[in-house]
């Protein structure tokens, strides 16, 4: 692996950048691996990296149907934070956030992890109480959270509509200063490059089409590039979880829903933090390149389509302008969508399945980008040791039948009500 540095670029300036090598190889699949990860998104690649790095399991393949990072990793609004409501979620995402904090250096790849703050706005006294409750819960659990007054919020983001007569007036906010954004593509590429350097085979254009079973145990996969054997197989395919699990006869508490996001044309800096709201379903940030990145709620109905739906976008635009009136004349440049793996309590599933040798990492809904390093670490733990890491233990698949669901949004089993 050629190390990345400013010096390297300087050298490249003189040799026409001819000496940069491939960021990752393009190996042919081997007949068998110790561990196969299905899905070359951020989570799958991170899992492979930590398997090799932390557990010394290097005979690992990541099988990606298309191009790595082309799933939700490549189409999310890149918000990273750990300020969730429920303690299990806080523990999980704080575990991840701590990993983010050293990740660019660890991977020798600039992930542009920008701790610009993740701000929730409150629009009424009761919103503020809810935010305080969330903040109190976080602080008691060792996660940073600060309640902001209206004045604070105004200073942080002067373009917010601070009018008292606004439809959703801004009473204050709750900020996680360590929250922020990261460059989505870089996360996939950075993990891929680092995993590849440790010997992991990253195999693109390799779709898993079947799971081979022997005596109730998963022993390998069928792919568009042939059959491949493995001791352990980890599913890590986000919106496609149900389809791959079905290859081993499993039915999951997951439904696939379409979620859209869009960017404006780039402009000079205007929003310096990540803006979310307690009452309105839209979130706003500005990328380093200058586009305003906007997102809203997923569609209500299940879909594997990555085409868009105009009405949701129109709604998000209206709300965004409501919060930041100066966005009005910015132009939407591109709008896309991803297929999210909506679990039936809003929390992910990490760990074993009823099929021996087959593991599942999925159900991240619309919030798994922030979990990428943590999810990879914890999943690698389960795949290497066969038992869950304590932080991941509550996120088991049995919780739906046992009743120990982790209902962050308190909205029950139907994903569309979340």
């Amino acid at each position: 692996m050629t190390r990345y540095s400013a010096l390297g670029l300087l050298r490249g300036g003189f040799d026409g950048h001819k000496s940069w090598t491939r960021a990752w190889r393009a190996p042919e699949p081997k007949p068998r691996y110790d561990v196969i990860i299905i899905g070359g998104g951020g989570h799958g690649l991170a899992t492979a990296y930590y398997l090799a790095k932390v557990h010394g399991v290097r005979n690992v393949a990541v099988l990606e149907r298309g191009w790595i990072g082309g799933g939700n990793t490549g189409r999310n609004t890149t918000i990273v934070r750990s300020n969730y409501r429920l303690p299990q979620m806080q523990d999980l995402l704080e575990f991840s956030l701590k990993l983010w904090e050293g990740l660019s250096q660890e991977l020798n790849y600039n992930l542009m992890f920008s701790q610009r703050g993740a701000l929730f706005l409150g629009h009424s006294d009761s919103d503020m109480t809810m935010l305080a409750q969330r903040g109190d819960s976080l602080r008691c659990n060792g996660v940073d959270a600060d309640l902001l007054t209206r004045e604070h919020v105004r200073r942080l983001c002067p373009l917010l509509n601070m009018s008292e007569s606004a439809r959703y007036p801004i009473h204050g906010g709750l900020i996680q200063k360590r929250g922020g954004t990261a460059r989505h593509d870089a996360v996939a590429w950075g993990y891929a490059r680092a995993a590849d350097a440790l010997g992991v085979d990253i195999i693109q254009n390799c779709e898993v089409t079947g799971i081979d079973m022997e005596g109730g145990r998963a022993v390998g996969v069928r792919t568009s590039r042939g059959a491949i054997g493995a001791d352990r197989i980890g599913i890590c395919v986000a919106g496609n979880s149900s389809l791959v699990a079905a290859m081993a006869g499993l039915r999951l508490p997951i439904e696939s829903h379409m979620l859209q996001a869009f960017v404006s044309e780039p402009v000079k800096p205007m929003i310096d933090t990540v803006i979310m709201s307690q009452s309105i379903h839209c979130y706003i940030s500005q990328s380093d390149k200058g586009e305003i990145v906007l997102g809203g709620d997923p569609e209500m109905y299940p879909s594997y389509s990555q085409r868009g739906v105009p009405m949701r976008i129109e709604e998000v635009a209206g709300q965004a302008i409501g919060l930041v009136p100066a966005l009005s004349r910015l132009r939407m440049l591109r709008c896309w969508s991803g297929v999210t793996d909506m679990s039936f309590d809003g929390a992910p599933i990490i760990g074993e399945t009823p099929v021996e040798g087959l593991y599942l990492n999925g159900g991240w809904c619309y919030g798994g980008f922030k979990a990428t390093p943590g999810s990879g670490w914890l999943y690698a733990h389960a795949l290497a040791k066969g038992v869950p890491h304590p932080v991941a233990a509550p996120f088991n698949l049995e919780r739906f039948a046992s009743g120990a669901t982790i209902d962050e949004a308190a909205s029950g089993p139907l994903p569309q009500s979340r």
Partner: protein, 1011 residues
Amino acid sequence: MSGPSRAAQGGLVDRARTIKFSFDGQVYEGHPGDTLASALLANGVSLMGRSFKYHRPRGVLAAGVEEPNALVGAGTGGRYEPNTRASDLFLYDGLVAVSQNRWPSLAFDVGALNSLIARFIPAGFYYKTFIGPPWLWKLYEHVIRRAAGLGAAPTEPEVDAFEHRAAFCDVLVAGAGPAGLAAALAAARGGARVILAEQDARLGGSLLGDEALIDGLPALDWIARTEAQLAQLGARVLKRTTAMGYYDHNQLTLIERRVEAGQAPGASGLAQRLWRVRAGRVILAQGAIERPILFSNNDQPGVILAGAAKVYARRYGVLPGRRVVVATNNDEAYAAALALADAGCEIVAILDSRSAAGSAIVAAARARFAVHLDADLISAKGAKQVTGAEAVVAGKPLSLEADLIAASGGFTPVVHLHMQAGGTLDWNETTGAFTPAIARQGQVSVGACAGREGLSEVLADGWLAGELAAAAAPSTASQSPSPKGGGIRTEGATAIAPPSGEGDQAQPDGGGQPRAQAKYDGPTNTLAHWTPAPGVNLKTAFVDPQNDVTAADLDLAWREGYRSVEHLKRYTTLGMATDQGKTSNLIGLARLAQAEGRPVPEVGLTTFRPPYTPTTLAALAGEATGQHMAPLRRTPLYTIHAAHNPPWQPVGYWQRPRAYPRAGETLAQAGLREARSVRTAVGMIDVSTLGKFEIAGPDAAALIERVCATPVAKLAVGRGRYTVMLREDGMVVDDGTVWRLGEQRYLLTSSTGGGDRMVGHLSYVRKILEPGYKVAVASVQERWGAVAVAGPLARAALAGLDLEPPAHMGLVRGQIGGLAVLVLAASYSGERAFEIYAPSHDLPRIWAVLQDAVTAHGGGLYGLEALELLRIEKGHIETGAEIDGRHTPGDLGLTKALRAKGGFVGAPALARPALSLPDRQRLVGLEAEDGGAIPEGAMLLSARGRKPEGHVTSAGRRVTAKGDIALGLLSAGPERVGETLLASSPTRGRTVRVSVVAPIFYDPEGARYRD
């Protein structure tokens, strides 16, 4: 280029009138019909912008929406629109435009230093450097963010109006060039309801820059006649309207610009309109976009697309240069050369990369200019402005002097909408063009966007498609085909006889298919050719000029393994700029295909996504923004409350008064005063927002017993009782009351939020779970306005109104002030209380009568603050606080209220083991040990550990006695009565010692309201 360059005559601008506008502070003049770009060119201004990364000087490349370079900020204040394409901004009086991404000025830009270090900052350089801890990145980022971005950020709120419209048609035609006009006319003639959308301010498309006769008329006259005919046939013709997105089931979004960027609309205030169109059939007639050529410094001001140069000369009467070198791989650029020459330019040479060219138009050009075959452009000379060109002709160098290079690398059919609609493409290796193949929503592409060339063929194509669409579309509209997995080949619809046989006469009356008589009416004979000639410096051969992506960048990305077309795009940012690669994507793709040694279709295209051209958020939002981003629901008493100017509490879309403070009173003081008056005398409150349902029929009780977890069947007529509703997972989601109005008639109430939620839920239970039930269900939430009168004097207050108030949990019908009411005796406050229901329109009058009675008994109004204090003290749980969607009836102390037999929604799931674990968080009361308000939402910590064991769900104080109290959810709560805990709120810097008590602080026996 130097000096003004308006041609002596010609063009479609209104030379009789002048318009003043400013660019970077300098005032210029132009004419109506000009774009900013044409007017600037006419004024001799060719430097119009700076590139994103290297801040290279840029002029205008195109004459339409595909322009990557000439971006300006248009307008001021709330109308300021950054990144506006100068070539797509029609001039208006007073236009203020500024250049972008330069400091201190466009001509002298410090940022251009970046181009000196360009060799060190190739594609993706930022991934390789600035690698450090997050705090360090924050410092770098600060600088990088300021260098990035294009136009200055807007800072002011909107001043104009935007709206959404629904429209339905049998046939929607996108694009009004010859193909689109012919299609729309044929469809309208066929009796279809037609919408024709054209993004330009004029209809005609390429005809506006061409010389042709159609049906014997000059093109412009034919356009005008067609427009008139369309109007006559009732077609809706929308100009300056872009079809921006093609969605499922033939829904398209159109954006109509009523005014130009930054321009003030007239009295109506309407700036843009979004049309939500549902079409039976869609005809796409978007035309084709010309491609540039790769050579060194191909981004210099003075390098322009050949077709654009023609448009500037013909349509705008502007000479984009004086001495022109034309570089091409097709015949179409010869038409540009001829047009430019006719307008007064000198054609220095035509460099044709093909080895042979022999069509009529080539011959005509050869007769007038130096035409070189086998000729490749190597570089543009000059700085900030082209001064010449270096070429290789049949292997020999050739140096030319020129101030304009008009280049044409072939044509890219605009397949955006076709692709958004899920279509597929075919590849033409010779012309280097993707054309529509399979259509999934029955859409048909016609004209240049289908790869058709030559006016006759294009007209015929459009006409036939229009005829077929009208015949296929159902006459009643709003009926569109479902997208089909298989799809149909568009050729099926458009494979047509080639135009004009001898006997095929034009029909001058315009009754049939339009016929063209053009001087040169044939194929473009494009010979695609992608490799830059040897000698071209790949580091300055720009593929995507806006984002400064060069051929060398593409090569680097490939070397580093970013070889999927999607990786290449993202690593280099090819095609990700504001033009979305309209001119550049295919060139980049072809380069990748070459590197991979694979054919172009195999490396694939990136995804076409809406919008076709960038669309203001304001237009997307329409009227639903600002105050209207969500509706405000008003109770029947809203204006009465508003007269008190109370602090409001949003509850969903509703607004409810929190209190009615007197002068000098804080909200808390007002709440306490109001609560005390309820405890000591009588108060009244608007409770109209509560959910209410009337359920009638033989199976009414059975239906309610499915929905509610408490027994209902034995309720006597005229009586009511408390109930709870569970979600299917066993969690409590709401509580309310059930009243038996008659033998087979019930009233069910819920929380305010339940009013909406229960509509669907009741309907589900009724229609899906129990379709056989004989029962009618109606939401009567808004039929009944409601007022609660509560307090020890409540009965007395009502008794004065000729009303015999019912006993606790009883109901009676009566009259107040001569108006019929329903009176229910239910207590939420803990005092004797009555809820008075009346048709919503009668409520204001009843309120007035009640207010007199209540005041006469020493009471007054109360709001939600007082209600909170009262219900917390009484230990009544509330939706949104204790009922938070994560707790079972057992958690909330409601087990005894449930029907043991089950059979209600939520019952089966309650059996799950984790739902009866002893350490679940359960309802408790909390009392502050040392005084001091208990922070609502605070965490409950015990001496045992640091982790929260529960939280405060609602907090208040005793109403008449002293003491701060709260309700909370606490792990194993009821078993811990007597324990001392900390209620800790680190975010508010407050911690209070609390003792755990039973969750009721006032009149546990209910003596205050029992009869």
